[in-house]
């Protein structure tokens, strides 16, 4: 048996026809065969659209018209960057991202500090806290619309507003609508920050706190000089993820306010969707907008990653 195998191995290495009809594949070919489908899929689904949309962003193309794309140079970009409506979208998105990311960072970190010490039921509480993260944003939007509802939602009574005439209209008031989306996003995604922070906290070795106790550090000093810097790398990663998500915020807005009232909650993504798939189907213009968003997100991510590397290397 082993002799036969040895012979077969030998013959295939010598490139002569193997005794059986089966093909012998070199390691390299097997590797290529496994990778090929992924590469083809990536090119078709990611690389090609990326490059094609870059091309389209310099044209006046619309998918519903039969005209071929006409090259217009930087027209789309100058149009977007000189239109105050678009700047309003960017400002809305930026405000939203800042509020929502900083709030969920604080809430998530605080939750992690609370759930860090093991107590009876801490496991089940941790699991329950994670539930919002697992829900679909559309489902979340639908039932938060019920919760926010001024006539029968439960939020206003909980907050102490019992008179329907004076109680806040969360989704209808331009001053409150963005906050409403922030609240829902914080509710849904603080657990994500908590999860990463919890991982970071549990990786801090106990002996650091023992050393700090010997060094007579107060609880606050320990938190500032040991806990915070030790969790910082993971906290930054959580913030990076949430920031990217915040800049792409679409589904919650679409589910809660449709960008309204007026354009109070119209984020860039919502505007992008409208440009691309409603009215005139302005494919060229929307591609340009998408590229601007991409550049902004890459730039912000880079800032975070630099901060992260600086933390690592010191």
């Amino acid at each position: 048996m082993s002799q036969v195998n040895a012979q077969r191995g030998l013959s295939s290495r010598q490139e002569t026809a193997p005794p059986t009809g089966r093909r012998q594949l070199s390691d390299m070919r097997i590797v290529q065969l496994f990778i090929l489908p992924t590469i083809i899929l990536l090119i078709l689904m990611n690389i090609f659209p990326l490059i094609y949309s870059l091309f389209l962003s310099f044209t006046n193309y619309s998918v519903i018209s039969s005209d071929p794309p006409v090259w217009v140079g930087l027209d789309n970009y100058t149009h977007i960057l000189s239109d105050p409506d678009f700047w309003h979208n960017f400002a809305t998105t930026g405000t939203y991202a800042l509020l929502s990311v900083s709030l969920q960072t604080i809430v998530g970190f605080a939750l992690a500090m609370l759930l860090r010490s093991k107590f009876a039921g801490s496991g089940i509480i941790t699991t329950l806290v994670l539930v919002p993260m697992m829900l679909s944003p559309i489902v979340v939007a639908v039932f938060w619309r019920l919760i926010f509802n001024p006539s029968y939602g439960i939020l206003n009574p909980i907050l102490g507003f019992t008179d329907i005439n004076t109680s806040p209209e969360w989704l209808g008031d331009p001053a409150l609508a963005l906050w409403a989306i922030v609240i829902v996003d914080v509710w849904q995604w603080s657990p994500f920050v908590m999860l990463l922070c919890l991982a970071g906290l549990s990786a801090i070795p106990e002996y650091l706190y023992e050393a700090a106790a010997i060094d007579r550090a107060s609880v606050w000093f320990q938190f500032r000089r040991i806990t915070l810097p030790q969790v910082m790398p993971l906290l930054l990663i959580a913030v990076l993820f949430r920031t990217i998500e915040a800049f792409k915020q679409f589904d919650l807005v679409q589910g809660l306010t449709f960008g309204g009232p007026g354009d109070a909650t119209e984020t860039v993504s919502v505007e992008l969707y409208r440009l691309a798939f409603q009215g005139q189907f302005e494919t060229g213009l929307s591609s340009a907008l998408a590229y601007i968003v991409l550049v902004v997100i890459v730039a912000i991510s880079n800032l975070y990653i630099r901060a992260l590397n600086r933390l690592r290397e010191g």
Partner: protein, 360 residues
């Protein structure tokens, strides 16, 4: 500076004793070594003194002040951890400054104190590096600096040299001893290395199986071990221990030889109430005097040249091996027969039942 007093201190984890009731007074400025094999309760004892571990029963006093239930930060002690426990995200400088900054000391004063202690330990050039980028020896120096910089009343050190290379250990051992002599701070030093303990300790506390076996100066524990455990544990090799029988003319060794006993020991042995004269006879290798007219016989089993002297492994008539020191140039062919005497002043006797030393 401070003296430390342990009164009936014990520690149980569940039903298991990590430290059985322990009484110990450590004098101001003393360098005391806790010595014992791994798992005997040294670290636990040290952690109880520091306050990192609560005592199960007993009292701990610092300078007469009862600190048994005080937080580590209220005891004015420094602790050097076995694996350094440096703050990995901070530079060596910040590590050393940490206890001062925690106390809210002014910036220029912190700078001054850190510079002083860094000069003392000769680590000025590595202050800006993080612990991960330092060698074991430098990490140890930073850990020592962090303990020294606060000028605490007492130092507790848990196997501070355990993680270092053998050659480096000797340098650091001398350095720590020198620091102690300069500062004269009360120090409790834990080690499992008896050579280290003998070299460094003013007094040694020998522990085994959660129990203190003996407390004494290096000379005391070497020459007058309190029991068989200490006799075996101290010295390399440990004390020779052979079963012997006390007879009117001396101690009868296994295989027939008779070693004369001094009058002092004879009286002590008579008063000790041993049954049928069975004892364990103990003697250090340097008590063995090899010469042609010796009363005892043995065969040479092996010999190790130690530079300054030769360590002979001698096989007694019943096959038992003992160690004896001989001159560097002594020529003894393997397997040859030798004669030797035992220095009567250096013989020690132990009760074979209780394993305790018989006192003269």
């Amino acid at each position: 500076m401070a003296n430390i007093e342990l009164r009936g201190v014990e520690k149980k984890f569940g039903d298991v004793f990590a430290v059985k009731p322990l009484d110990l007074t450590i004098k101001d400025g003393e360098f005391i070594v806790l010595l014992g094999p791994s798992g005997c309760g040294k670290t636990t004892t040290l952690r109880m003194i520091s306050g990192l571990e609560a005592v199960t029963v007993g009292q701990i006093l610092l300078d007469g002040r009862d600190v048994t239930w005080l937080h580590p930060s209220e005891r004015d002690i420094a602790f050097v951890f076995q694996f350094f426990a440096l703050y990995s995200h901070m530079s060596a400088r910040d590590n050393i400054a940490f206890p001062l900054q925690a106390a809210g000391m002014a910036r220029h004063e912190v700078k001054e104190r850190v510079a002083q202690v860094a000069a003392l330990l000769r680590i000025d050039h590595i202050l800006d590096r993080k612990p991960g980028a330092l060698s074991g020896g430098d990490q140890q120096r930073v850990a020592l600096a962090r303990a020294l910089v606060r000028r605490p009343a007492a130092f507790l050190m848990d196997e501070p040299l355990g993680a270092l290379d053998a050659e480096f250990r000797e340098t650091m051992r001398a350095e720590i001893k020198k620091l102690h002599l300069a500062q004269h701070a009360t120090t409790v030093y834990v080690t499992h290395d008896q050579i280290e303990a003998m070299a460094m300790g003013d007094r040694i506390v020998i522990m085994s199986a959660a129990v203190v076996q003996q407390v004494g100066t290096p000379t005391e524990v070497y020459h007058n071990p309190a029991n068989l455990f200490v006799a075996r544990f101290i010295g390399s090799p440990g004390m020779n221990l052979v079963k012997a029988k006390v007879e009117p003319d001396g101690a009868r060794l296994p295989g027939g030889g008779l070693a004369p006993i001094s009058d002092r020991w004879r009286r002590a042995l008579e008063g000790s109430g041993l049954e049928d004269g069975s004892v364990v006879l103990g003697f250090r290798p340097e008590a063995v005097q090899v010469h042609d007219g010796g009363a005892l016989r043995a065969g040479v089993y092996a010999d190790d040249l130690h530079g300054g002297y030769t360590m002979l492994h001698l096989e007694l008539a019943d096959g038992e091996i003992i160690h004896g020191r001989a001159a560097r140039d002594a020529m003894n062919a393997l397997g040859s027969a030798v004669r030797f005497d035992l220095d009567p002043d250096m013989m020690r006797f132990f009760n074979p039942e209780t394993e305790m030393a018989i006192l003269s």
